[in-house]
């Protein structure tokens, strides 16, 4: 049974990146200069599209093409974690989309002109759904670092892009997962736009022996938290 959700809590700004960030050059002409209008949450914001694997088939192993021919080059890894809201409620049956560069640091995209080899066996996109407890998991290749011309000698740390939907469109989020110990993290203007250190570090996955499979691949855990519901006197927590 669905319960009535009145809205979602507003984030602490220190835990989210600003729209204007001079260190990240592309924000200069793209950030709004007028103040944002605070939108009250209505059914448009508290409802969300429903995605099912029947209509949006899973692509849970990025290391093999659908025709089964060939294997992607690079270090195979298993990535998994849990999608919840700020109250720890699992986000069930949610679609998780991921995309990334290949092991050499090149995207399978016409706009990427970095002089690194494309891998004909790696498209760099995946789609999985969370289970009853909010867990997701996929198999991929550890992405390489790549240069991006934001400043002299600028290199993006290894990362995987994530696109997420919750139960309300106000929970919509795109983020990036990073890797532990990456020496580029302290130098990266995008990662460092999040001023709160703990919030920033929550974007870094952790090595996970439970997810690691013997003779197959290392596992990395990345939990993701969507906005929590605004408390209301009407709220009934026993049905979700």
């Amino acid at each position: 049974m669905s319960e009535v959700v009145h809205g979602y809590r507003r984030p602490d700004p220190a835990t989210q990146p600003p729209l204007n960030s001079p260190a990240y050059g592309s924000t200069a002409a793209r950030h709004p200069k007028q103040p944002l209008l605070e939108l009250p949450h209505t059914p448009t914001e508290t409802s969300s599209p429903l995605f099912t694997a029947a209509r949006y088939p899973e692509l849970a192993d990025l290391t093999v093409l659908e025709n089964g021919a060939g294997q992607a080059m690079g270090e195979r890894i298993i990535v998994g974690g849990r999608l919840t809201d700020e109250d720890g409620r699992p986000v069930r049956h949610a679609m998780v989309e991921v995309w990334q560069a290949n092991a050499a640091g090149r995207y399978n995209h016409e706009g990427d002109t970095h002089d690194a080899p494309l891998d004909p066996n790696f498209l760099g996109r995946g789609r999985v759904f969370t289970d009853e407890n909010g867990f997701y998991r996929y198999v991929t290749i550890r992405p390489g670092a790549y240069p991006w011309r934001n400043h002299h000698n600028a290199w993006r740390p290894n990362h995987i892009h994530y696109s997420l939907f919750g139960s309300g469109f106000a929970q919509r989020m795109i983020t990036q997962m990073y890797f532990p110990g990456d020496p580029l993290l302290p130098l990266d203007p995008i990662f460092n736009t999040v001023s709160d250190e703990a919030a920033r570090n929550r974007l870094v996955s952790t090595f996970d022996l439970e997810l690691t499979q013997p003779e197959r691949a290392l596992g990395y855990r990345f939990d993701i938290v969507l906005r929590g519901r605004e408390a209301t006197p009407m709220e009934d927590d026993h049905h979700d």
């Binding site: 002409a29 709004p32 949450h41 409802s47 995209h109 469109f169």
Partner: protein, 213 residues
């Protein structure tokens, strides 16, 4: 998602039913830019929300197109943007979350082209209740949520698209919260035969009213 590792991981952490006693307090993850290569998860057919229905559209469904050009602060077209829409069905209803996969869903995704243009095919939404706190008779004018992702946007930008000529535009609480001089940045104009247009301006002259959702 069915192999042994996933099962073990799931079993290792039994679900905690949230209650006031056990409620965890987590902090929402930080957004990060979609970057310029999000097209790897773009599927052009997603720009047509009617694609699952053929001619069997929901009752009262009026097929429309919504197009526009996205421009940055210099007036240059934004050619790498991901535009998403989310809106109610022609009767003003949203899916109830209980998972009827055959119900109409007003969700679309579209990449801007070399001219910065997006184009959706969808059904014109009906008026939507303001919400459970506002009484059954308080209605919002027909509208769409619009989310815009791109390189240079560390969080996505959000606005709403309304339709010129709707009587409810005069009383819509969101439109009324916007200074009159800027409301036009949220109101699509008709171009005939069910075509509607609204340009989006990230910054500068005619800047769209962007919202903290």
């Amino acid at each position: 998602m069915t192999d042994a590792t996933t099962s073990r991981a799931s079993n290792a952490t039994p679900e905690l039913a949230p209650s006031e006693a056990t409620m965890e307090r987590l902090v929402a993850s930080a957004h990060q830019t979609a970057g310029p290569y999000w097209h790897l998860v773009d599927f052009p057919e997603w720009a047509d929300t009617t694609r699952h229905f053929a001619d069997n559209l929901p009752e009262g469904g009026q097929r429309i197109t919504v197009t526009g050009v996205v421009r940055d602060g210099t007036g240059a077209p934004v050619t790498d943007a991901l535009v998403e829409i989310w809106h109610a069905d022609p009767a003003g209803r949203y899916p109830d979350g209980n998972g009827d996969p055959t119900a109409f869903q007003g969700y679309g995704r579209c990449a801007t082209d070399k001219e910065g243009r997006f184009r959706f095919v969808t059904l014109k939404p009906g008026p939507v209740p303001v919400g459970p706190h506002a009484g059954a008779n308080a209605m919002q004018a027909p509208h769409m949520a619009v989310a815009l992702f791109a390189r240079g946007l560390l969080q996505h930008l959000s606005t709403r698209l309304y339709f010129e000529g709707e009587a409810l535009n005069e009383t819509d609480p969101v439109l009324r919260a916007v200074p009159e001089a800027r409301r036009g940045t949220m109101i699509a104009k008709p171009a005939g035969n069910g075509a509607w247009t609204l340009d989006l301006r990230l910054q500068g002259e005619g800047e769209t009213v962007w919202m903290a959702v």
